[in-house]
């Protein structure tokens, strides 16, 4: 069976675009139900201590307020921590809202006011009176670094740093060029446009339909069933659209727990929506201190590399991400030691945030590599080429593919890197200093077990479906493209359905694995449809395909055609008539090939080039150009792929220059908890961003040759910008974000 690629690999607009821009697309807080009640969360004003008294009488006296839930009257739920662990929970005791009077972090939910209207609930929430006994919060990571520890239990799916290779300490001492520096990543909150929300529809007879802000409906379903003792058949989760996640929606959050609690207790439908302030009361990218030491010979060849990190986590869970591992695989180096530790602070548990660990670790490594370039007098790009890793030396594996060299070359050519003057402060544009910096990016190319269905009808229309989420990434569109090509249909004959636990199960949308995983599942399902349909076509009386087998036909334009003689053909409708069916439906399931994953390392790579213009005197940095050259295997949709990278680069510029959640350590609270004061880039901050996809055939990484694009765009961008700032000004800033005070300081 030949399936010529006709729409896969082209630029296609998002199929869900019109629904989103016209408001037809419904998000979790937009679903409604008869008799819907509204819950508003009351957040703790302190970060540590206990509630000594909570008075809900004034709130409950408001006509229209139905009930105020607190730790004193909350419905009973599961007892064991085990029941609260969702699919991606790190080791520890997951946070339980309203579990008791103890306050373990600032902004912790302490009451839910449920009322007949949102306005009444919000008013009622202002009337809840709480008395606290305060303890001194401990939120300053720097003061807890000495107490850092290697996490005793590893987080599932996160590889701990590989064992040391060679003798990094000895090789460092012996190296003619040595540098050791400390780098710091600030706390960042995801801040998707859509706030977290859950609409729980009470269907009666113990059944619930839940619309939850989540990056995978199965995670919500599993959590709710486990915590509330419900059966999967009684809990359907439907979230067709997610207004941005960036990882904040991987784990079920407390508004879900509260909404389900209230719905079951009141036996009516309940919606709970968090405010923007409350979006700062759960996961975030953790603050991380890192030390990178590089030893090299005079030619810039790495002899020793150590990379240590200490990251913050909560007092109740050991959140872990891969911060230092990248340093073991990105460059050829015989002597490497990597170390990753945690320190506990009185905040909520950190959460995966776009390229978790890599954003942090690569900023440090690629800043250090830039410093090495100046220390050796070697061009930063040339330095990376000299240390190019032909295989993953961290794990001792070959790569499934690695076209990073092409990314370096094409990115540099497009950027004009060869015209760069090596010396810092050597390039000017009027009053502004001009800086050109570059960095490498890397992210895992993962594929997960995944299922999908495909349903073909006689009119040549195909529906493909699975439970994964489209976070605004283009999943609806690429799955339709894959289905269209698999059965030779025009794209507008294919529909995609997502975000429903009634559909075949797909993994959480995260880790950049959705295209590879759900894409392969759709293809597998379509393949089964093709087989069935071909069987019917062959069974036609005097079938023109009677003696053919599947390998010798093509699906095109609603027909099954013999490749050798396309005039011998059977239409989809004829085949279905022959089979006596009005549809052909199949479910396909795929999982990663264990032999391949054991033998090979699979990564996406990028080469990021950034130009900054700096008014040094006033500390103003403008990122005037970025070229991001991406090696990510097969690209399914040039338009949504480019958009993914543009978004990643913009977020990387934010990490470089703006994003920081500021803690008041006396109060233990984040203070800039709104979009006016937590800065992300605005249009004025963003100029030319050019995206290049280099050719990278890969027959091992996943059935479609796809590696995924969700994270790679952000990785390395902050380092490229920071390196450009150094080239412009001669000032090395090692703690992000690079704000005005650091430039003029």
């Amino acid at each position: 069976m030949a399936t010529p690629s006709r729409v896969v690999g082209t630029a296609q607009s998002r199929l869900d675009g019109p629904a989103k821009v016209t408001g037809a697309a419904k998000y979790a807080a937009e679903f409604t139900a008869p008799d819907l009640a509204h819950g508003v969360v009351v957040s703790s004003a302190i970060a540590k201590g206990r509630i000594t008294a909570i008075d809900t009488s004034a709130a409950e006296a408001v006509p229209g307020v139905i009930k105020v839930f607190t730790h004193e009257n909350r419905p009973r739920t599961a007892w064991l921590d085990y029941n609260y662990r969702d699919q991606v929970a790190p080791p520890g005791s997951p946070f339980r809202a309203l579990n008791g009077p103890e306050i373990v972090y600032g902004g912790q939910p302490v009451a839910l006011v449920v009322a007949e209207s949102f306005e009444l609930a919000r008013y009622g929430a202002t009337l809840v009176r709480i008395a606290y006994a305060e303890d001194v919060p401990n939120t300053d990571l720097e003061k807890n670094r000495e107490a850092a520890y290697v996490p005793p239990k590893k987080r599932s799916g996160i590889k701990p740093p590989p064992d040391p290779r060679g003798d990094a300490a000895g090789a460092f001492e012996a190296a003619p060029i040595r540098l050791r520096q400390e780098y710091k990543q600030a706390i960042e909150h995801h801040n998707p446009m859509e706030p977290h929300a859950s609409t729980v529809v009470y269907e009666g007879e113990g059944k619930l339909t839940i619309h939850d802000k989540i990056q995978g409906v199965n995670n919500t379903q599993g959590y709710v069933c486990s915590v509330f003792g419900l059966k999967p058949d009684d809990v359907r989760v439907i979230t067709p659209y997610v207004g941005g996640g960036f990882g904040s929606g991987l784990r079920p959050q407390y508004q879900l727990y509260l909404a389900v609690s209230a719905a079951l207790d009141l036996k009516r439908s309940v919606r709970v929506v968090l405010t923007r302030d409350q979006m700062f009361t759960f996961g975030y990218r953790p603050e991380t201190y890192q030390t990178v030491a590089l030893g090299a010979d005079e030619d810039g060849r790495l002899q020793a590399l150590t990379h240590d990190a200490v990251a913050g986590t909560s007092t109740f869970e050991d959140y872990q991400e891969a911060v230092v591992n990248w340093s073991g695989l990105l460059y050829h180096c015989p002597n490497v030691t990597l170390d990753y530790k945690l320190a506990k602070i009185d905040t909520y548990t950190p959460a995966d945030m776009r390229a978790p660990g890599a954003v942090t670790g690569i900023f440090a490594l690629e800043s250090a590599m830039d410093e090495l370039a100046y220390a050796t007098g070697i061009d930063p790009l040339e330095l990376r080429l000299r240390n190019y890793a032909e295989r993953d030396e961290g794990e001792g594996k070959d790569f499934t593919s690695k076209a990073l060299r092409a990314a370096y070359q094409q990115g540099a050519a497009r950027f004009g890197w060869s015209r760069r003057k090596a010396e810092p402060r050597a390039m000017r544009d009027g009053r502004e200093l001009v800086g050109w910096g570059m960095a490498t990016g890397v992210w895992e190319a993962m594929m997960m077990q995944s299922s999908a269905s495909a349903t073909l009808t006689p009119d040549g229309r195909l529906d493909v479906a699975c439970s994964t989420a489209d976070l605004g990434t283009g999943t609806y569109t690429i799955l339709a493209q894959i289905g269209a090509d698999a059965l030779g249909l025009p794209l507008d004959h294919v529909t995609t359905r997502l975000g429903d636990t009634a559909l075949p199960e797909a993994p959480l949308a995260g880790g950049s694995w959705t295209a590879a995983s759900s894409g392969a599942a759709v293809q597998a399902a379509c393949r089964k449809v093709a087989e069935t349909l071909f069987g019917y076509a062959r069974g036609l009386p005097e079938s023109p395909l009677a003696n053919a087998d599947l390998a010798h036909v093509t699906f095109a334009e609603g027909e099954i055609r013999l490749q050798a003689d396309p005039s011998r053909k059977v239409s989809i409708a004829e085949a279905m008539r022959a089979g006596g069916v009005d549809r052909v439906e199949a479910t396909g399931s795929v999982k990663p090939d264990m032999l391949t994953t054991t033998r090979y390392a699979a990564y996406t790579h990028s080469a990021v080039f950034a130009e900054v213009k700096v008014d040094e005197e006033l500390g103003v940095v403008r990122v005037t150009r970025v070229v991001s050259a991406i090696a990510a295997g097969r690209i399914l949709n040039l338009k949504t792929a480019r958009s993914q990278i543009l978004g990643g680069v913009v977020m990387g510029i934010g990490a470089a220059l703006e994003e920081e959640s500021m803690l008041d350590h006396s109060l233990g609270l984040f203070m800039n908890h709104n979009l006016g004061e937590y800065h992300v880039p605005v249009n004025a901050d963003i100029h030319d961003i050019e995206v290049i996809f280099v050719d990278e055939p890969d027959d091992k990484v996943s059935p479609l040759g796809v590696k995924g694009l969700g994270e790679i765009g952000i990785v390395g961008t902050a380092a490229a910008v920071a390196n450009a700032v150094y080239h412009a000004t001669g000032k090395r800033i090692r703690d992000l974000p690079i704000t005005i005070d650091k430039i003029i300081g």
Partner: protein, 337 residues
């Protein structure tokens, strides 16, 4: 958010009476700040008196200058031909602030009454002397990189957030108000106040007084001016430091100088001595630095905002240079001139 009553005033007199009769009442016009504050439970008015139908929405020529009605939207002022011809400093400052959507909704009078962006003021879970007098000021030892370096008190180190007001301070506008006791004119320098022992009071406006107009005097700084705003991103952020400079020049010599700073104090900051130092002097960096030194001699930084002192010094020098050279800062090209 609290429950509140709502009334719409048909005349200025009705508006004044409605407020005078109810200590818990507030005027609402564009609502771009008040509604936010209500959602944060910082403001809990018992009654909102809607003044948007009052006839205060015109820009007219007045005593050789311009009279900006209190309800003229910020966007209208920013793009008004007469404002741009005669008071381009004001137009520039308006375009340096907020976003197009906010400027469309926000009014001239409301802009004067914007409240601080101090994090603690907006967070009802924390102490704040401005929100709750006597409760304390955690900003003094907390997260204070955006806070005041001039004119603060041991009660409050918040800054005034408006860009427009910094220009109006330099232009020596006059605020016309009407209250239960009649009309009065408030010179701009006296409209906003320093925190002192009453940080809850941002202005000298009395309860029941309504802003009728902002009057711009018959002066001409249209050749030598600038509004230079420095912030944590290139648009849609409040000023860390801003400079409104307005000069009259005789060749290279400064004849008249006005200089107001934003982002550094509880009100747009002016210093008469520094302006006097500029007059009669050649327009060069030494002169400008001297003026900056005078202004910043009394600066008092806190844990995280010491950089503002040096940033203000450099911004003053650059702003005065831009004004003297007749090359004002563009608010669309983010390159600093």
């Amino acid at each position: 958010m609290n429950r509140f009553a709502y009334t719409r005033a048909g005349t200025v007199q009705e508006a004044v009476q409605a407020l005078a009769a109810d200590p818990a009442a507030r005027f609402i016009a564009g609502g771009t700040n008040l509604v936010d504050l209500m959602k944060y439970n910082v403001e809990r008015p018992g009654r909102l008196v809607d003044i948007t139908r009052l006839p205060l929405d015109e820009i007219v020529q007045h005593e050789g200058g311009l009279r900006l009605g209190a309800l003229v939207p910020n966007a209208t002022v920013a793009y008004d031909p007469l404002v741009n011809e005669r008071y381009p400093l004001l137009a520039s400052a308006l375009l340096a602030g907020a976003s197009p959507q906010l400027r469309n909704a926000a009014t001239t009078g409301g802009n004067l009454l914007q409240r601080t962006r101090c994090y603690y003021f907006y967070d009802e879970g924390t102490p704040c002397n401005k929100r709750q007098p006597g409760s304390g000021c955690p900003a003094m030892t907390g997260v204070n990189r955006i806070h005041a370096i001039l004119g603060a008190s041991d009660q409050c180190i918040a800054t005034h957030p408006s860009d427009m007001c910094v220009a109006l301070a330099a232009l020596e506008a006059v605020v016309q108000v009407e209250g239960p006791d009649g009309r009065r004119a408030i010179p701009f320098a006296d409209f906003h106040r320093l925190p002192g022992d009453e940080p809850q009071n941002d202005t000298t406006l009395r309860h029941g007084e309504i802003v009728l107009s902002v009057d711009l005097p018959d002066e001409d700084f249209s050749k030598h001016y600038t509004y230079l705003k420095l912030r944590d991103r290139l648009s849609y952020a409040f000023a860390l430091v801003s400079v409104a400079a307005a000069l009259e020049m005789d060749g290279d010599t400064i004849r008249t100088a006005r200089l107001a700073l934003g982002g550094v104090a509880h009100k747009p900051w002016r210093n008469a001595e520094a302006e006097d130092r500029l007059v009669g002097r050649p327009a060069n960096p030494e002169t400008f630095r001297e003026a900056a030194d005078v202004i910043l001699a009394e600066a008092r930084p806190y844990t995280h905002n010491a950089f503002k002192v040096e940033l203000a010094r450099r911004a003053i020098v650059r702003g005065l240079s831009q004004a003297a050279a007749g090359t004002p800062q563009s608010q669309t090209d983010k390159r600093i001139a």
